[in-house]
């Protein structure tokens, strides 16, 4: 739909979308075009760029370019999975809390507050220490860290929308809560939610990258951008590309997501903000 792609007309939207497309292309197609194996040593460790390996080799002599091309999948995949899971949790909690406004709301929100008390990284580290390091733990952990914030935003948006006439009209028709939420509320909170989803995705990337960098997430010999930074950081002076290339990819990805989110927010802005009403005297 043309309407949905309106954000592309903004420079920030077009650039952001191009970056995202590029990163996704690298992650998806990278392994197909990678010149070498990401795990087999190619030659001398930490050699500089050469014809065979344009970005040189890492501390074990593996080709940096090939590892870079393989390393996008885990970053994108884990972050996307964690963000989606965070949304499944946060959206349901936020919608229910914002819509019912009865006892459920304070109960849900206080438990959310408790979750918000934990520093995200610390929470994840404790979880990994307890449950062991696996892809599932990583995804669930990041989702649990993110869900409270999602639910707060969704709740606030829902609170605002659920007193509008069209929601009340549906309630007066006697429609069930799920029908009201899906038909009347959800489409109208999509604006802030979509924008937030972009930001959450960025956070997820950063948290996962941090954990991987600390060596507590994905384990070697996996190729992962954050893992690559962590492995090679001691040898920054010898072959800087082994650290800078994956770091640049993460940075570019983050910028791309933010630019896109911002452009989407602005393009939605006009249709989501109701025109000011001149005189409403109750």
């Amino acid at each position: 739909m043309k309407e949905r792609l309106r954000f592309l007309r903004r420079p920030s939207g077009a650039i952001g979308a191009a970056i995202l497309l590029f990163i996704v292309a690298v992650a998806v197609l990278g392994p197909l075009v990678a010149p070498h194996s990401p795990t087999q040593p190619l030659g001398v460790p930490l050699s500089g760029p050469s014809g065979a390996s344009p970005l040189g080799t890492d501390y074990l002599g593996r080709d940096v370019l090939s590892r870079l091309l393989y390393g996008g999948r885990s970053v994108l995949g884990l972050a996307a999975a964690a963000t989606i899971l965070a949304y499944v949790l946060g959206l349901s909690i936020g919608l229910v809390a914002g819509y019912t406004r009865s006892l459920v709301d304070p109960m849900l929100m206080r438990s959310v507050d408790v979750m918000l008390c934990f520093p995200p990284l610390l929470f994840l580290l404790v979880l990994i220490a307890g449950a062991g390091s696996s892809v599932a733990v990583l995804i669930i952990g990041v989702a649990l860290v993110q869900a409270p914030q999602v639910s707060r935003i969704v709740r606030t948006a829902t609170l605002e929308v659920s007193v509008r006439g069209y929601v009340e009209a549906a309630v007066a028709r006697g429609e069930r809560a799920p029908a009201v939420l899906v038909r009347e509320v959800l489409p109208n909170i999509l604006g802030p939610v979509l924008v937030d989803a972009g930001l959450r995705f960025t956070y997820s990337i950063l948290i996962i990258a941090s954990v991987n960098f600390l060596g507590l997430g994905l384990q070697p010999p996996n190729s992962d951008w954050a893992l690559m930074i962590g492995e090679n950081r001691s040898y920054l002076a010898v072959n800087p590309w082994a650290v800078l290339a994956p770091a640049a990819m993460i940075a570019i990805l983050t910028i791309g997501v933010n630019l896109t989110g911002d452009a989407v927010a602005r393009s939605l802005g006009r249709s989501y903000v109701p025109r000011t009403v001149r005189s409403v005297a109750t």
Partner: protein
């Protein structure tokens, strides 16, 4: 005659893209005179008001003409010298005082700010006391130390008036200063302004869409439409003998407490900037339009008594005028079993900090086909009653009986038939339709849910319902964002009618609409009532609307009913003191002006002729 303080000469403003916003406006204002500028939204009246301060909205620029205020030309000055002028020579009172006052500034400081900008040497203390006293906010009660949020809407507006008058400018521009205030507060603010004019001899430009308010305030009226003056003249002659069909339509669109009559809306939509027709801008909506109206723009012609009109047929039309006003028709209501009976209703307003009764011990009945009005100020609990009846608010005590059977509190637990037969239309047309759904799916929903129609059958009925509320069928495919306020409210009414209700609860359905649109919506509701034998509970703060549409009325004050009875009886001979106050405060075209409104010496001021 005194020399005018405001002299506007052939003023024209246009968008940067070239489309005219205001064209060929000329008028003068004498010291102490009040000029009322009237028009629908989009008529350019606010643009004109701001132009008097040398301000144009971004994208709008002066194109031609001159404005002189207090002898000084306004156009062509730089920002710095305009700032010299504003507040000292001409000041501005905005529409929304809550948004206009700096929330982090004590109101006393805000007023002093204006003073210091123009009179650094003046004694701030004395001037502040005087400025506040002028609007009856007394310093000894600490008003100057308050922040805007600690004041009521009316007090906030009085602070902006104090700000506008602290430097005693000869001219004040007021842009809808009482829109959004309730009647009693509006009445006080208007009285304040009239006293200011009498005491300080301030000339005012009073911009409003409400002819009844302007009738009370203005000495002369300028009727604007599509950026042009269609009619101008002394208030009494313009209102009593309007010459232009547009003014006549506006006058007959006003619900008047003192002269209840059948309201007539103005058909069509007012023209926006960018699509002005070549001829008379009102011709497309005018019932007297002839081909020549559409070909060329009529000039502003003088009629008798300093009265100007821009219509090529005004002389012919003047003859037809006599038969136009028709008294409102009262419907005989068959008394019998009540359709809805509310008895000893109590509803509480609950929030985390607060638990207080919003409605106390309210009882009333609606007979089949009857229209009962519920009147009161903001916060009087009238909307809560509507919500209780619609099943959106569960009452804490009392019973609601519908068609002989008691109904439960929440809509969810009411039987389908009751939900179908009671429908509600909400106040704010900008929020009553789901912006993500096309008009037809909004209307189909009650057909599917409440009348259990199939998808096809529902789709089939939509066109008929749109026609019922006088909307073209092509709107069915639109989104609410593409509709005007009046059109949205019609769609909301169509959505309610889709259920084939017996009782329609209208919660302030016209309060956000322009007068002409309001009249059209009320006209529609009246027609639906007769055709479909609907009963109505009509909630409003506007007594004029009550007089024009309701059969009986309940006056609410602070959660309980203080007076009830047939409309004629209550409005003509109110027994309750609060009702009397409401009635006296209601602006009316035939407002009896008290002597303070027209101080001696001003009464005889010859109306100033437009150039």
């Amino acid at each position: 005659m005194e020399s005018p303080v405001v002299r506007v000469d052939h003023l024209a403003l246009a968008l940067n893209t070239g489309e005219p916003v205001i064209d060929d406006i000329s008028f003068q204002i004498a010291p102490g005179e009040i000029l009322g500028v009237v028009g629908e939204s989009g008529s350019g009246k606010s643009t004109l008001a701001l132009a008097l301060l040398g301000y144009t909205r971004p994208g709008v620029a002066f194109r031609a003409g001159t404005i002189a205020v207090g002898g000084e030309s306004v156009i062509g000055r730089d920002t710095r010298s305009l700032r010299e002028l504003r507040g000292k020579v001409v000041s501005y009172v905005p529409q929304d005082p809550g948004g206009a006052l700096n929330p982090s500034m004590r109101v006393g400081d805000a007023i002093l700010d204006v003073l210091r900008a123009h009179r650094p040497q003046a004694s701030g203390d004395e001037s502040l006391t005087a400025a506040l006293a002028r609007v009856e906010l007394h310093r000894d009660r600490g008003f100057d130390r308050r922040y805007p949020h600690q004041l009521s809407g009316g007090q906030q507006q009085r602070v902006t008036i104090a700000m506008a008058t602290v430097c005693e400018p000869p001219v004040a521009v007021l842009d809808e200063p009482t829109t959004g205030l309730d009647v009693l507060t509006q009445d006080r603010v208007l009285a304040e302004l009239l006293r200011l004019r009498a005491d300080e001899h301030v000339a005012m430009v009073y911009v409003s869409h409400d002819l009844a308010v302007v009738a009370r305030m203005a000495d002369r009226i300028l009727v604007m439409y599509a950026g042009r003056v269609l009619e101008a003249g002394p208030t009494s002659t313009v209102l009593e003998h309007p010459q232009h069909p547009y003014t006549r339509a506006l006058v007959s669109a006003i619900p008047d407490v003192r002269q209840p009559r059948a309201l007539r809306g103005i058909g069509g939509v007012s023209v926006g900037v960018g699509d002005w027709p070549p001829g008379c801008p009102f011709a497309p909506r005018c019932e007297h339009a002839q081909p020549r109206c559409e070909s060329s723009l009529p000039s502003l012609e003088a009629t008798a008594g300093h009265h100007d009109v821009r219509c090529c047929r005004w002389q012919e039309l003047a003859l037809e005028q006599a038969q136009e006003t028709s008294a409102r028709t009262q419907f005989g209501v068959p008394s019998g079993a009540a359709l809805l009976e509310v008895s000893r209703l109590e509803a509480r307003y609950q929030s985390q900090q607060d638990d207080r009764p919003a409605v106390r011990d309210v009882s009333f009945a609606i007979e089949p086909g009857e229209c009962v009005a519920l009147v009161g100020e903001s916060g009087s609990g009238k909307s809560t009653i509507a919500r209780c009846i619609a099943g959106l608010h569960v009452p804490s005590a009392g019973t609601i009986t519908f068609d002989g059977r008691p109904v439960k509190g929440a809509a969810r637990v009411r039987p389908l038939d009751v939900r179908r037969r009671i429908q509600i239309v909400f106040q704010n047309p900008y929020q009553s339709l789901n912006p993500r759904q096309r008009v037809h799916s909004s209307i189909e929903r009650p057909l599917r849910i409440l009348r259990r129609l199939s998808q096809d059958a529902a789709r089939h009925e939509v066109d008929g319902l749109l026609e019922r509320v006088r909307l073209p069928a092509r709107l069915a495919e639109r989104f609410p964002g593409e509709l005007s306020g009046g059109e949205r409210q019609r769609v909301a009414i169509a959505r309610a009618l889709a259920a084939k209700p017996d009782l329609l609860v209208c919660d302030e359905v016209t309060s956000a609409l322009d007068v002409s649109v309001q009249a059209a919506v009320l006209e529609l509701l009246q027609e639906l009532r007769v055709d479909l034998h609907l009963s109505m509970l009509f909630i409003t703060h506007n007594l004029g609307v009550v007089a024009c549409i309701a059969d009986s009325v309940l006056v609410m004050d602070n959660g309980s009913v203080c007076e009830t009875g047939p409309v004629n009886a209550v409005l003509n001979a109110p027994a309750n003191d609060y009702t009397r106050r409401l009635l006296n405060a209601a602006p009316s075209l035939s407002h009896e002006r008290s002597p303070v409104d027209h101080p001696a010496g001003l009464k005889v001021t010859a109306p100033v002729r437009p150039l």
